[in-house]
Amino acid sequence: MWGKERVYDFLEKIMKKIPFEKKELVLSISSEELTRFANNMIHQNVAEENLILFLRIGEGRKKAVASLSNLDSESIDNLIKILKLLIQNQPDIEELILPKPQVYKEMKIELFNPSPDKRAEIVKKIIKKGEEKGVDTYGSISESINELSVMNSNGLFAYGTLCYAHGKTMYISESSSGYQECAGKDLDSIDFEILSEVALKKCLDGKNPEDLEPGKYEVVLEPLAVVELMEQISYFGFSAKAMQEKRSFLSLYQGQRIFSPLVNIYDDGLDEKGIIIPFDFEGVPKRHVDLVKEGVPLSPVYDTATAIKDKKESTGHALPPTDSSFGPLPSNLFFVPGNKKLEDLISSVERGILVTRFHYVNAFLDPIKVLATGMTRDGTFLIEKGKIKKPIKNLRFTQSFVEALGNVEEISSEKVILPFFGGFCSVPGLKIKEFNFTGVTEF
């Protein structure tokens, strides 16, 4: 950790050295560790210490971005030389607009030191559970601490920290697999006991899956499946840039009730129910954005460039400068949970499918409808008369996720926090009617 004062002094020194009219520095320092295990042993155990300095500069109606990890004077001088050439050789087109100084809410974020020994102890317990039931154990546990700071030539300075842990457990038998995953503020906030219990039960219950004909079924999507749905909806739909380029459903249906009235989704980086990210990569504080209220899509998220185009304020959703051409993305998404237990959702299904998790979901087929195809995996079950009847082989779905959110019938009270586009997402389980399965596989 560098700390706020050291970061400020460093960025101020660089700021003075840079000759351009408009300039923004973003410094990201992170320490990330990850323990991966498979076949009842740790096969990969890594730690990385990263530093990236981003420079975004503007001169008149010209702009450019650079990044580097090597902070010696020679490297920085060389980069400034290249940036000068890049500015000189581009036509006048678009001005770089940087945010003004901002006020930040004081947030209490607990720091921790990643520990390979602590992770190893957790892994031992997870493996022991599998050994007792005669199945093999897989998964990963990671810990991450980050410092992010932004300084620009308008006088803005932001400094914040982000810490989180992430756990995945999986058990595999000869004919089945079970999986669970969760993120938290630190390792202690993740209940690995429950995570591994649930994954193990799915593996044991999923043995000897049977074929099921594809077709339209009522589904109960557990939170791990819902996060995949939300990733696609957000990627293709909730960016102001996608809306401005008319490639988002928002450009057609903003303000219209196209989703089930049960659906409420917002983004809020300061909501303490999630993992706090105080500001974005432009130093703009995270704002609460109601993305969907009672089934009506209301607004995308904005960065500074897209906000200016729509005569709005940035909502604090800018990506790192080298990715800024993509536009903004939600980074702390909350799908508001319902009142019923997941088991109540299942018990209300006459004949349908319980999906633990999706795999390899892709909606480039039709970005506006978010027409996605993907597979189920790690625990797919047939529900009959409100009860889990039997495990079934994995199915392929081809389904518009816009339409699926329109078909939401019930929402679970259980929710899970999961990583999401460099941020986090809190999602419940969903009961959805007429979910379209189009193919089967052999396991």
């Binding site: 076949n39 730690a47 990044s67 580097l68 457990t169 051409s325 994995n394 193919g439 596989t441």
Partner: protein, 477 residues
């Protein structure tokens, strides 16, 4: 790099470890893109640092840092991690043997793209973008270019000292036509950034972006009026861009031995090509021959040595339709009683090497592309990657393309939009009855293959020519 590398290796070797390797890597990247006449991306990136991999009591530990001055704490971290690993593991890792080497290698190119004036690069992007936007009905025009340079040194406690320099160039253009909720895209020479090679500026000039800009823009607009491809089971001919992805997803990934052995199970998945199938399983028809070739002259998956110091090789994965080989590392090859065939690569200094595709090439057949079309009475021709999905054992796949054409009586006819095809990997390849010859064979560059945790992006290649498949389920939406 060499001196500091030796210092790090010496320090780590004195800790009493079984094995240690050190990689120091400098990467430079230049990304330029123009969207609708606006310079959207003008990014210059440089990253420099090192990673150290330690095997202690048969257990792995890895640590990396941008801070080479303070290398001792990073090495100590890797050692502490290896100790933590060894506290859990009952089985010990052993590495298949290699011959240590001291050598240097540079990929070949004619014109260094980093020395080409920005003005020249930007002119090409703005001009191609203007041509696309002049076609009535185009909503978004995107022109992109990327140059990549990597200098790295690998040192190991077994005595290897390998320096390699890689230079790669790529470019592409895409035109989008949007009408209501219908969005159609055409790209050249491929979608998602174009095509990439181990080459210099000369490759960008060979691509002829300007000559193709109007063609793809008109196709994108025409697609808005085209009918969706009807659902049916038919004969399918795939162009090279789509077939490259088919090879990538349905042959490249399932032959990665780490996936087969389960070490990617909780993330990317496993593989249907289990150990018992090797040498016995009919993966495709007899004309299907697929090799992993890291020795190709311009493929993104080419190098002299992998990130474990194993020399680049060419080996069969599928021979005369039979599944015969895997992509291996020193650790995984040892498990099946072999030596590594050299496919371990890391995404920069901060990530650990894992098994990655090199150039996974479908060898050419004996008919010309024209002869394949002429000998097809009734079928569909599809081109250019649009969407992709495959199950976690790499069996059930679903791929969408940008454009399709009907083939009737040996001639290409009506255009269709939103085409997709779907199937089971081995059934699909067993129904391959024609592969175009050398004349239409080239290695396509795929710079964005994701795998591993933390996620790593690999730059890989796929040599293919168009091919024909019988009895394939296709459709539109």
């Amino acid at each position: 790099m060499r001196e500091i590398g030796r210092e790090i290796l010496n320090y780590a070797s004195r800790l009493g470890v079984d094995y240690v390797d050190v990689r120091i890597v400098r990467r430079q990247r230049e990304e330029l893109s123009v969207k609708n006449g606006v310079l959207e991306t003008a990014n210059i990136n440089e990253t420099y640092g090192f990673g150290v991999r330690i095997l202690y009591k048969g257990a792995w530990g890895f640590a990396s840092s941008f801070n080479l001055e303070n290398f001792k704490s990073t090495v100590d971290k890797a050692f502490a991690i290896a100790k933590a690993t060894s506290s859990v593991n009952k089985n010990k890792v052993s590495l298949s043997p290699i011959n240590p080497v001291k050598t240097q290698w540079k990929s070949s190119y004619k014109i260094d793209p980093f020395l080409i004036p920005f003005e020249k690069k930007l002119n090409l992007l703005f001009e191609s973008n203007r041509i696309m936007r002049e076609v009535s009905g185009i909503s978004i025009a995107l022109s992109e270019m990327e140059f990549f340079k990597e200098d790295k040194i690998f040192l190991s406690s077994e005595g290897s000292e390998i320096e390699q320099s890689i230079l790669e160039s790529g470019a592409g253009i895409s035109a989008f036509a949007i009408e209501g909720d219908d969005i159609q895209r055409r790209s050249y020479p491929n979608s998602f950034g174009g095509d990439y090679r181990k080459a210099g500026w000369e490759f960008i000039e060979e691509l002829n972006l300007l000559e193709n800009a109007e063609v793809i823009a008109k196709e994108a607009v025409a697609l808005l009026k085209a009918e969706p491809l009807p659902e049916m089971v038919t004969t399918l001919i795939l162009d090279g861009t789509q077939l490259a992805l088919q090879v990538h997803e349905s042959c490249g990934h399932p032959t990665e031995l780490d996936r087969v052995l389960g070490t990617e199970a909780s993330f990317a998945g496993t593989s249907f090509l289990t150990l018992d199938k090797r040498g016995k399983f009919q993966y495709g028809s007899e004309i299907v021959n697929i090799v992993a070739d890291a020795t190709h002259s311009y493929g993104l998956g080419s190098f002299a040595y992998d990130d474990e110091g194993v020399p680049a090789q060419k080996s069969f994965l599928v021979k005369n339709g039979l599944f015969v080989g895997y992509l291996t590392s020193r650790e995984t090859a040892g498990i099946i009683g072999e030596n590594s065939n050299g496919t371990m690569r890391a995404d920069g200094w901060n990530r650990i090497p894992i098994i990655r595709m090199t150039n996974i090439n479908l060898l050419p057949g004996d008919k010309s592309f024209e002869e394949i079309i002429e000998s097809t009475d009734d079928g569909i021709y599809m081109s250019t990657v649009k969407n992709w999905s495959i199950d976690d054992k790499r069996l059930n796949f679903h791929f969408g393309c940008e454009i399709a054409y009907e083939i009737k009586n040996g001639k290409i006819g009506k255009m269709y939009k939103n085409p997709y095809y779907t199937g089971i990997t081995y059934e699909f390849w067993r129904n391959c009855d024609a592969i175009a010859n050398e004349k239409s064979w080239r290695v396509w560059g795929v710079p964005n293959c994701g795998k591993g945790e933390p996620i790593q992006t690999a730059r890989v290649g796929h040599g293919v020519s168009p091919a024909r498949f019988r009895r394939v389920k296709v459709g539109g939406k």
